[in-house]
């Protein structure tokens, strides 16, 4: 056996479990039926179109009973809606005359905004637990998948917004487990969801394979950055360690020479990560550090130019290419910027006014 064989075998190990016999037999039957009835279907279709053209009513105005001036965002429909640009949670209501009273969070909900700009309510995604903890959603890097917690199923669900399909995890997670700073991450293919019940605590996280229910426990001291290419990137703060854990489990952490926070996902070169230096006072907001995930060594520091003076960086996330990493900057709402790691120049990508607190962006751990 060669080392190449072993490495290929490691990739093959990540293949999902399948049960294809009945699907293949059903597919074969469908195909046979389709071939036999093709001519008949074509005839019916022609007739159907002619009938529909006659029967379609003329378009009318909106004559439903929805009162005007009320929020009329539609519920997320079944089926295909297209990839997401972002999701946000509506804020709790504060009565200006009763500021000392706790805010009213009864109507808080998750809303999804597609790349084409359509907004949908997503009532099936739990926004807050009965104990008042925030329940996150997570969006895959390409915006195709959204993972959320369903109170009804008492489990996590991944919805494919391009195909319309939905997978509910067979792993029951009690609502009470969603604690302060709970985090959620979903892989690009929607196969894996990583649930961290309480950020920064010793309570272990859970990497769930959605279709089989197979789980891999994640050390509680580690926080999830991303799940990409079959590897979950986990960070232990303060020390600081990076653990690239295959979704099947295993691997071991690499220690960095220094203290870093706000890590990016692994760069396209498969070994660089970007983070902010936590020790160098005054450099937290505008100096990005590139780190070698194999050796833990600092590759270089890059001073960022072109960010707004007010506010600060709240996270580092996806790599747009080998030389540009995305950061989120908050100031009366959030904005995303692409930072060139060679020149430090930041360019604005998008703004999310008023949505800083509970904003879910593609590829970022949901909080």
């Amino acid at each position: 056996m060669t080392r190449l064989h072993d490495a290929l075998d490691g990739i093959a190990e990540e293949a999902p479990l399948v049960n294809l016999a009945d699907l293949a037999i059903a597919g074969h039957r469908r195909r046979r039926r389709a071939t036999l009835t093709l001519a008949a279907v074509a005839t019916v279709a022609v007739l159907g179109v002619a009938t529909a053209a006659v029967a379609l009513p003329e378009p009318h105005g909106d004559d439903t009973a929805t009162p005007r001036g009320v929020d009329t965002v539609p519920d997320l429909p079944d089926g295909k809606v297209g990839s997401l640009g972002h999701a946000y949670k509506t804020p709790c209501k504060v009565d200006p005359e009763r500021r000392r009273q706790p805010p009213d969070c009864s109507a808080v909900e998750w809303r999804l905004v597609t790349r084409t700009g359509t907004t949908y309510r997503m009532p099936q995604a739990l926004p807050r637990t009965t104990q008042g903890r925030n329940a996150p959603v997570a969006i895959s890097r390409d915006g195709r998948m959204i993972a959320y917690y369903s109170r009804q199923a008492q489990a996590h669900v991944v919805r494919d917004l391009v195909s319309g399909s939905e997978v509910t995890s067979s792993v029951t997670v009690k609502e009470e487990r969603i604690g302060v700073g709970s985090m959620l991450v979903v892989s690009d293919d929607g196969r894996h969801v990583l649930f961290d019940p309480r950020e920064g605590s010793k309570e272990p996280g859970l990497l769930i394979e959605m279709r089989t229910g197979r789980t891999v426990p994640v050390h509680g001291k580690f926080e999830t950055i991303s799940i990409k290419d079959g590897v979950a990137a986990l960070v232990r703060y303060v020390k600081t360690d990076l653990w690239l854990m295959p979704v099947t489990g295993g691997g071991s952490p690499v220690r960095f020479d220094g203290v870093f926070i706000m890590f990016s996902e692994l760069a396209p070169d498969g070994r660089t990560v970007a983070a902010f230096d936590f020790e160098r006072k005054g450099h937290i907001k505008n100096t990005l550090t590139l780190l070698d995930a194999r050796t833990g060594k600092i590759l270089r520091r890059v001073a960022i130019r072109g960010l707004p003076e007010k506010g600060g960086v709240s996270s580092v996330s996806l790599w747009r290419s080998g030389s540009e990493v995305t950061i989120v900057h908050e100031n009366m709402g959030a904005g995303t910027y692409a930072v060139d790691v060679n020149t430090g120049r930041a360019r604005r990508l998008a703004g999310y006014p008023g949505k800083g607190a509970h904003l879910a962006l593609p590829g970022m751990a949901g909080l």
Partner: protein, 172 residues
């Protein structure tokens, strides 16, 4: 007894091994499942003949590889590239090797990727690989040569995976 029972039994016994091959070929769980399912749908109709006369698994593997190669029109997962930083000492390299290898495989042509899987994962001989791909032994040799050269160029940090004597011999 249902006339599909033989097929069902075969799939139950072999589907995971076939799925691993499909996953290595495509590098994507959904595509791998689509690929295997589309091949198995074709196999259902041919099952009586295949189970009597031949080696069904060899047929399925051959169909899998050829179907994959003909799927050029399918979108492939994004795999952006960048200049890798200098290589350093290793703590745990297996996971990183897999990431880099997966990204490099995604940049090979379907045929190059298929020969890598057939020769170095399935450990088929050149003759067996040629039979599976429906091409000459000479074509397999040249495809392997080009695939290994491309892997070396795309991911110099994988040199240690490609330096075993068996691979060096094949690459000559």
């Amino acid at each position: 007894m249902n006339h599909h029972d033989g097929f069902r039994e075969f799939v139950l016994a072999r589907q995971q091994a076939l799925m691993r091959a499909a996953y290595l070929l495509t590098g994507d769980a959904h595509l791998a499942e689509d690929l295997l399912q589309s091949v198995l749908i074709k196999v259902v109709g041919k099952w009586p003949k295949l189970s009597k006369n031949g080696n069904p698994e060899a047929y399925v593997r051959k169909a899998l590889v050829n179907q994959y190669i003909s799927w050029r029109r399918r979108p492939r997962p994004e795999s952006p590239s960048a200049d890798p930083p200098e290589r350093g000492a290793s703590y745990d390299e297996a996971a990183l090797d897999r990431i880099v290898l997966r990204q490099a495989l995604a940049k090979l042509t379907p045929k190059q990727r298929a020969v890598i899987v057939l020769r170095f994962w399935e450990d088929l001989t050149e003759t067996q690989a040629a039979e599976t791909l429906g091409c000459s032994v000479g074509t397999v040799k040249s495809q392997v040569h080009h695939a290994l050269a491309r892997l070396r160029a795309l991911a110099p940090e994988l040199a240690h995976l490609l330096s075993d004597s068996e691979i060096r011999e094949v690459a000559r």
